[in-house]
Amino acid sequence: MKILVPIKRVPDPQTNIAVKPDGSGIVTDNVKFVINPFCEIALEEALRVKEQQGGAEVVLVSIGPKVTQEQLRTGLAMGADRAMLVVAEEELDPATAATVLKKIVEAESPDLVLAGKQSIDDDANQVGQILASSLDWPQATFASKVEFSADKKEVTVTREVDGGLEQVAFALPGIVTTDLRLNEPRYASLPGIMKARKKELKEVPLADYGVAGAAKVKTHKMAPPPKRSAGRKVETVQELVGLLHTEAKLI
């Protein structure tokens, strides 16, 4: 089985983000970058499938600036077999990223694409879905459990939906996007880090994919959320109810 895992380089969710004064983006100096947490969960799941099935190939792919090598190397140290970086200095919109991934899927022909449900930087939650529809592949998003049939030809996915869990099954190849509670990603181990140095990390320029100028969505301006103003104390319940009516207009 071959599993393709697309990952994205994003700012560490633990760091404080500051918006540039001109609103063109966020300040990236001294900001730590990591593998998008949902992508990391997808990678962990792929590695578990590989271990359970006693042999599957896990291929990492990312689209991003050259420094994304760091995140790919980390993924290789965790246990992925090889990696590919589409070097793109500009930011792509989800549809364009999906177009690039579609071409990679066609070249690699994996049995499964395991991706994060969304990245924590722009929270678009679109790439997996657009990729599935453009390939005309079955998809299961927000996976909290992934199980394979004995012949490895079919996958059953438990999805976290509003109000409960839903199970869907489809024949491979297909696309699964991962939710938060699917697993807890492992740490890169010492032997893993040593081995990662010798694994393949191929770089391809974005130009090779002919998507220049294809982006339909552009970021115009970023602004920090308004600061929360201080609360107010009220003397009586009547006063509170009154204010909820007249000022907050909640009731």
Binding site: E70, R73, T74, A77, R186, Y187, A188, S189, L190, P191, G192, I193, M194, A196, R197
Partner: protein, 418 residues
Amino acid sequence: MIEWNEQHLMLQDAVRKFVDTEIKPNLEELEHGDTPPYDVLRKMVRTFGIDAMQRMRFEKQIAREKALAASGDGAVAASEPPRKAVEGDGDTMGPALQLIPIIELCRYCPGMVTAMGVSAGLTSAAILSKGTIRQKEKWALPLLTLEKIGSWAITEPGSGSDAFGSMQSSAKRRGDGYVLNGSKTFITNGPYADTIVFICKLDEGNEPRERKILHFVLDRGMPGLVQSKPLRKMGMHSSPTGQLFLEDVFVERERLLGESEDAAGRGGRAGAKATFSMERSGVAAMALGIVSQCLELCTEYARTRVQFGRPIGEFQLIQAKLAKMEVARMNLQNLVFRQIELSAHGKGMSMAEASACKLYSAGAAVEVALEAVQLFGGNGYMAEYQVEQLARDAKVLQIYGGTDEIQISQIARSLLSH
């Protein structure tokens, strides 16, 4: 080596994450609740595959020693120091991978490093450098993987810096073995140790000063061996320290390291001193962890603590403290880089250099940690703030593994001997 490379940073990152999830939330319990550190340490060793790597390295070394022994010259094989046969290839990965977890652990729990270092470092190294192949296989490997916990017992109530001169612990020949007596104190891991390297003098009725130094391996629960409860101490609470009492403990000859009384060159005083040298060189990495953490905490505090209407970082006296801490951090990092580089080329520090390195590192850690308490003011004196713990932990670096005073005398002796 002038900076950490991508792989080093990757490991640093992974260990930091581990410390954040496994140690930080349990710090209170580890520091103040007598929870032994071994389960967390074992989990760390397993998580990062350190145990598998140690086993692999050990098996390679033993195979080499066996081949040497089989080639007929057993004596050569046995006296070969452990890693000398390996020519350093200049690759910094191996040594860096050993030091990075030490640095990262010391940001929160220097005691854990002490507990781990004494077991997987000192005790196993003593067996590896002095033991026979059979002894190494039996006792050193489980220590390297932290499957078993080890103690290296040299200090006694009446013998500290003058470790060998005033040593009272004794071995007397009886039949095919020896009868051991004595008491040891300040023994790291003592309360929980499975394997103890016990250092004593062979009593042949001669002058105590002339007696041979012997190393024996003891197991937990041997008749006549008592391991005390953890002693209360100033800092390093996550490292259990205890006393050992031996009353007529009978041991077979197979427990004598090297299985010979005349293993003087590699056993005896020189052997113990080689172990000291190794113990000393680990202190720079520990100090780097403590100092880095203090600096990070202080920088954040200086930015956010407001007095007289502005962040205290705007006051020059606070700036001076931060700048001095940064200088210490840079110096320590360079010392650690030098150690890694030396080790990558198959070299080690001389005793005098290791002493100088320890003297500086311990002093820097104590100074920075106390200044960190000062910078935090009243808060810094409260156990709620981490600098309080780090300041207590740092102090022992100037005492154990040879006091500052002993390091100074060793540096001076080396300078004056030419």
